[in-house]
């Protein structure tokens, strides 16, 4: 009678002991989570302001003119949706450019390269992206990419998602077409196993059946084939891995045809040696050292991006094809370096920023040189955006992207003078430099500012720490930089006291400022207010002209 409960109790105690032990071991385990395995959650690869800039460019581009679906010349417009997923993008940092690629949501039905019948397996995949390229000389190239992956040749898994501008996986077969933002066909290429093996065009030749021609022009031989294209609005079924496995059938529409011209092996299909910005057609980039980072639905994802198909499928041309800008915009600044990513929209700000980058003398020139040089961790991006009420500009530094990002609030500065705008940008440049310097070279940072380092470290915030350093160490450099920019803008007869006073902008809370005489503080505050608001304060009236753009 008593034996059974005792056994039951014993079992309970053993079980309880084991469970509690397991919980304790788990809770108190000695290993510390390896931070290397943690996925960074930061999404500030590019700032919201930069995306706003791209949105503006995009909206201007898509509305510049609209090409009707099926142009008179037989060009098929594969781009129909203009709905960009601004939360999903990929960035490639190249030697001479930065490529930002966004996904287009739900771009029509499925384009297929053969007529489908009920029961067929759909062996095509489509994807549409919009790509923004900013070259180091300031030029931009913006376009749509339509990818039709052809999985019909042999049994293989779709890899269309791995494909990025200039990065064609060696297993990719299909067609890549490029369209301008106003949906004008730029150029297109057919790929087989990652190799571009034909140039796509939309010729006048009619007929829906494949035609094979042989062209002999000069020394170049080319055989051209036309292919029909259908667009299907249909239902299909399959597994989660392959939702398009079975085609259930529904409406489809014959769109037309495109032509692919193959060329001799000796004649490279893909030529060109610059970053897609050449003038010959077709173009091909030399990606060089490329880092690729993706943000998917607002989360940073480091994808494995296959290298450009070279020997394993891309030939010596890097295996990637790109649209060529037919009319590249003029270079805005030949000395522009890609380490400073300039995303300013308003010309009046851009004009001042160019002058800031051209400051040649003094310590500020060294700062600009560092921010525009090739030292890792010192990248600087300047863009526009809305800021809190009292902020005209601000800067953040991300160790994920190793980049300082400055945002200038144009709406707050549009009624200010050029001197105020220049001062704001110079102030933020110093912030960017100090943030990068402290994180990337703390040993020399400590040496450079040995007298202030304790106060710097003890500051409650980095903002206060940097302002302290600016006020004690950089104030004359900031003043000299403002003067230099002002002179470049044509202000040749302004007293140095104006620049000295403007240099205190944003530093009024520092001990150094508060130690100035009351008269000096009043004069400085009036000067700053006069330039910010473009009207007189006390005895100080604005010396600069209004920014002059809306």
């Amino acid at each position: 009678m008593n034996k059974y409960p005792k056994t039951k109790s014993l079992r309970f105690i053993i079980c309880f002991t084991l469970v509690v032990s397991a919980l304790i071991i788990h809770a108190c385990r000695k290993d510390v989570k390896n931070p290397l395995t943690q996925v960074p959650q930061k999404t500030d690869l590019i700032s919201a302001a930069s995306i706003d800039t791209l949105k503006t460019i995009y909206n201007n581009g898509i509305h510049s003119s609209y090409t009707v679906f099926n142009e008179p010349h037989g060009v098929i417009n594969f781009i129909n949706s203009l709905d960009v997923d601004w939360n999903t993008f990929t960035i490639q940092k190249r030697n001479g450019s930065i490529v930002t690629e966004f996904e287009i949501k739900s771009d029509t039905g499925l384009f297929v390269l053969k007529k489908m019948f009920v029961g067929d397996t759909v062996k095509y995949r489509n994807r549409t992206t919009v790509t923004f390229i900013k070259f180091k000389d300031g030029r931009r190239l913006n376009f749509f990419t339509k990818i039709i992956e052809d999985l019909s040749m042999e049994k293989r898994r779709p890899i269309i998602k791995q494909l990025h501008y200039g990065r064609i996986p060696s297993a990719f077969s299909g067609v890549i077409l490029y369209y301008s933002l106003d949906r004008q066909f730029i150029n297109g290429y057919r790929f087989k196993n990652g190799k571009p093996d034909g140039i796509v065009s939309f010729s006048e030749n009619s007929g829906s059946q494949p035609k094979i021609n042989s062209l002999q022009t000069d020394n170049m031989q080319a055989s051209c084939t036309t292919y029909d294209v259908w667009e299907t609005y249909c239902e299909w079924g399959g597994t989660v891995d392959d939702p398009y496995e079975y085609f259930h059938g529904c409406s489809e529409r014959y769109l037309g045809y495109y032509t692919v011209c193959e060329e001799d092996d000796d004649t490279p299909v893909i030529t060109g040696d610059n970053d897609g910005g050449g003038t010959t057609n077709p173009c091909s980039p030399n990606p060089g050292n490329v880092t690729v980072e993706s943000v998917s639905h607002g989360k940073l994802v480091i994808d494995f991006i296959p290298p450009p198909t070279g020997d394993d499928g891309g030939g010596n041309s890097s295996g990637s094809t790109n649209p060529c800008p037919n009319d590249p915009p003029p270079a805005t600044n030949q000395e522009f370096d890609n380490k400073i990513q300039d995303s300013l929209i308003h010309d009046c700000l851009e004009k001042i920023f160019q002058k800031i980058k051209e400051v040649k003398a003094g310590n500020f020139a060294s700062i600009i040189s560092k921010l525009s040089g090739s030292t890792p961790g010192y990248d600087w991006e300047v863009s526009e955006g809305a800021l809190p009420p009292t902020a005209y500009g601000n800067t953040t530094y991300s160790k994920v992207t190793e980049r300082a990002t400055t945002i200038i609030d144009f709406n707050k500065l549009k009624n200010s003078t050029e001197l105020a705008a220049a001062t704001t940008m110079i102030h933020e440049a110093v912030h960017s430099f100090l943030a990068a310097y402290f994180r990337n070279d703390p040993v020399n940072f400590q040496k450079s500012y040995s007298e202030q380092i304790d106060a710097y470290m003890a500051s409650q915030t980095e903002n206060a720490a940097q302002h302290m350093l600016m006020a004690t160490t950089f104030i004359s450099d900031i003043s000299a930089a403002i003067k230099s920019v002002a002179q470049e803008l044509g202000y040749t007869s302004i007293d140095d006291q104006v620049f000295d006073d403007m240099a205190w902008s944003g530093l009024q809370g520092t001990d150094a400022y508060l130690s100035l005489s009351e008269a000096d503080q009043i004069r400085i505050q009036n000067r700053i207010s006069a330039e910010i608001n473009n009207k007189s304060y006390g005895t100080e009236y604005p010396k600069g002209k209004n920014l002059g753009c809306n």
């Binding site: 002991t17 000695k30 800067t395 003890a458 903002n463």
Partner: protein, 133 residues
Amino acid sequence: MRILKFGMLFICCIVWSACSTSRHVSGQNEVSIKRSAKSKKEMQSDPDASTLRFSLIDKNNGTKRNILSLIYIDDIKFKSDQEGNYEMKVLPGRHTIRINSVGYYPEKFKVKTQIEFNYDITLLWEEKSEILY
């Protein structure tokens, strides 16, 4: 009852063993304190003091970066070396540690030291994304 006692003892042993490294997460940072027995030599040379060894690691990338920092042990300020390391001897008892650096979330925690042990303190330090105006 014997089995019950055995079970409790077993649990105590596991607790003692498993928690010789303690870990705590406060806000954005993670602190791990690993206790290790002092060597005979250490016991002879400095019997009363335990050594606190600090390692400061960037939580974002797991690398031991050169994080300049201020370490306050019971409100006495020390500066780490340029690689973010610091070593300090303390008497047995409870100590309050604060670690500050520009650009990182500050950390504050307590450690109870005993004569027989040294302590390796690893701070996985989260960068503070501060807006600079």
